[in-house]
């Protein structure tokens, strides 16, 4: 009985020590991160902050932000990462204008008009859509951009071509000589780093050629569309995260520690010593107890 009681108390002591260790570790960390840091990357766009900063050290993978830069539009210089076009900033589910309700021909006359407010495509229609990824923070971030093309119904091979060009002038899909078939749009992918105050942009092109040698098929699709929705969906995703490998970022500011470099082993050793001490005390007590009984 005495033995069992001792064991329980031993367990209690060990657990107490574990709690003490974790509280001390967390406490230090929480104190640190609770302070507002200029170099922190926000998860959400915050209040607009004026910034006249320019970065002449823009790396080869991104473009420095300057006031009134072309294509930036009227975006606020909010903290954090932004993806936006000339009309809006993206959120987690943003309806963008890759397709349109009306299209004009080469003479500038409207020649295609949706009858019900839904974006449409038709032979002879085309469009290009540009979006930006901007790093408003003061440290480097990495980002990944992917594209996915979904069509319905699945038996339709839409006679639509697609291409994407990056800010570097290189094509992620297609070329200056021509675009690729629509299904290949799902292979579009890019990954790069964005230095502080830099931005990258991409332009998506698509077309349904007016003359591509198969008017019968175009007519078939147009007639089928009377009773059935034949749809094309383009989904573009951007994913950005802090670059932990970048220790000293632009402007001499340290990357915020989204991790921790606390020497945990120190605390573990301390805890281990404490466990040993407790064990010794208990053993001593036990020994004393046995002597008393004798």
């Amino acid at each position: 009985m005495q033995n069992r009681k001792g064991k329980i108390w031993l367990l209690v002591c060990v657990l107490f020590i574990c709690v003490a260790i974790t509280v001390s570790v967390i406490g230090n960390h929480l104190i640190y991160i609770s302070q507002i840091e200029k170099e922190a990357i926000s998860l959400f766009p915050s209040v607009a902050v004026e910034s006249d900063e320019t970065n002449d050290e823009g790396g080869s993978s991104s473009i420095a932000i300057t006031n009134n830069a072309n294509g930036v539009g009227t975006q606020q210089n909010t903290e954090g990462i932004e993806t936006f076009d000339n009309k809006q900033t993206w959120s987690t589910e943003t309806d963008v204008e890759i397709f349109k309700l009306t299209y004009t021909n080469d003479d500038g006359k409207v020649s295609v008009v949706s009858s019900n407010g839904e974006e449409v495509i038709a032979p002879g229609t085309e469009n290009e859509y540009t979006f930006h990824i901007k790093n408003n923070g003061s440290t480097t971030v990495k980002y990944q951009m992917t594209c996915e093309v979904l069509t319905s119904p699945s038996d339709v091979d839409f006679p639509v071509n697609i291409a994407m060009k990056s800010y570097t002038g290189d094509y992620l899909l297609g070329s200056d000589q021509g675009m690729e078939r629509l299904a290949k749009g799902s292979f579009i992918r890019d990954e790069a780093s964005l230095y502080a105050k830099n931005y990258a942009y991409y332009t998506l092109f698509w077309e349904w050629p007016f003359e591509q040698g198969d008017d019968d098929f175009d007519t078939y699709l147009g007639n089928r569309a009377v009773d059935e929705d034949l749809t094309v969906t383009v989904v573009i995703r951007t994913y950005a995260w802090s670059d932990e490998n970048s220790q000293i970022a632009d402007g001499g500011l340290r990357n915020p520690n989204t991790g921790d470099t606390t020497n945990v082993m120190y605390y573990l050793m301390l805890g281990g010593i404490a466990v040993v001490l407790v064990a010794c005390i208990i053993w001593k007590k036990k020994k004393d107890g046995e002597h008393d009984e004798e």
Partner: protein, 361 residues
């Protein structure tokens, strides 16, 4: 002893509870630590969907322009596709291959040939088309039919009145000529009997006769695109089929008719085309001469019934003193017709209408 035991049990419970509580706290703090070490990330998604723009243009034509069977006058003289219809008064006979050709006859007509267009496309478009036609006519001249005479003596020959009424031709001749005298011994004499005369009273050629008259109007009978249909004698004394074809092609072939996206094409003013072979011509001055021509046409066709490749073959002929013209020799001289070419060289009417609706870029 029992009190001591109870005290020990109480102490044990407390220590167990304390141990359990600390265990839970340890687990919770462990979770917090793991969350604290997580990274900051940002995700954004841009998406857009489009559907194929609607076309859905459908063009149909009610009935054929010509038919194989026509109802009688009491039932409108119009085309019927019901071969058991008891009101049929004109019906094409079967050819040797059992097919039946579309036919035309005095009294037949068709006002049920309608072009229908439906659809409300979401794109701009254009209506283009072409009407190709061929009509036949009878020149405004005299028409004769050769009949073998029973002349066997010079006296009988000379007894014929009217120098120009007697023509002589031998079947072996490739031309005809008026005799300059009496010649026997194998010659066969044919008399040209007048069967129709479209000449003017002064003997000059009269206006040509087009038995089939065509009209092109809006669906409600009003003028289509400013086109005025000839009426009365003007209708059968000119090629109305060519007139409507010229107008149709001027509208649809030359430039087409544009429409904008969202247009209800059922409202597009497509023309209504009708035709008629009048049973009688109410011109008081005709004195039935057109009826005689109609009869001649019918007899010519009857003489060549069964010949699906029949064409009115005409060849120029000279040497006919006092009357020059073309001589139709199809089945031999006897019964052959003499007169100006019926032109074009067939009693056929061709009507080939093509309409296309195309998206405009």
């Amino acid at each position: 002893m029992n009190n001591l035991k109870t005290k020990k049990e109480l102490k044990k419970n407390k220590s167990m509870r304390l141990a359990s509580g600390l265990l839970v706290v340890t687990l919770l703090t462990t979770a917090i630590v793991s969350g604290t070490f997580a990274k900051y990330t940002t995700t954004a998604v841009g998406e857009n969907t489009a559907r194929v723009a609607k076309w859905g243009v459908v063009m149909t034509a009610d009935n054929n322009i010509f038919g194989t069977d026509y109802k009688d006058a009491a039932n409108g003289n119009t085309i019927t596709t019901d071969v058991t219809d008891n009101s049929i008064s004109v019906s094409a006979l079967a050819n040797s291959d059992k097919t039946r050709d579309n036919v035309l006859a005095p009294g037949t007509k068709n006002d049920t040939f309608n072009l229908n267009l439906t659809g409300t496309p979401e794109v701009d478009g254009v209506i283009t088309g072409e009407l190709k036609t061929q009509n036949f006519r009878i020149r405004g001249d005299k028409y004769f039919q050769m009949k073998k005479t029973s002349i066997s003596t010079e006296a009988e020959y000379k007894a014929y009145s009217g120098e120009y009424d007697l023509y002589v031709l031998r079947d072996s001749d490739s031309y005809y000529a008026k005799t300059n005298g009496y010649t026997k011994d194998g010659d066969v004499f044919y008399e040209a009997v007048e069967i129709a005369n479209l000449e003017k009273s002064d003997g000059n050629a009269g206006p040509d006769y087009y038995p089939i008259t065509f009209k092109m109007t809006n669906q409600d009978g009003t003028d289509w695109n400013g086109f005025t249909n000839p009426t009365g004698a003007s209708a059968y004394q000119q090629d109305t089929l060519e007139l409507i074809a010229n107008k149709f092609n001027a509208v649809y072939k030359t430039s087409g008719v544009n429409f904008e996206s969202g247009t209800d094409l059922s409202q597009a003013a497509l023309p209504k085309i009708t035709w008629e072979w009048a049973f009688t011509h109410d011109d008081s001055t005709t004195n039935g001469k057109y009826d005689k021509v109609d009869t001649m046409i019918g007899n010519v066709m009857a003489a060549n019934r069964g010949d699906t490749d029949f064409d009115v073959n005409c060849f120029a002929s000279t040497g006919f003193n006092g009357m020059q013209g073309e001589f139709m020799k199809e089945k031999g001289l006897d019964g052959a017709y003499l007169g100006k070419p019926f032109g074009p060289s067939s009693f056929k009417v061709m009507f080939n209408l093509n309409l296309t609706i195309t998206q405009r870029d």
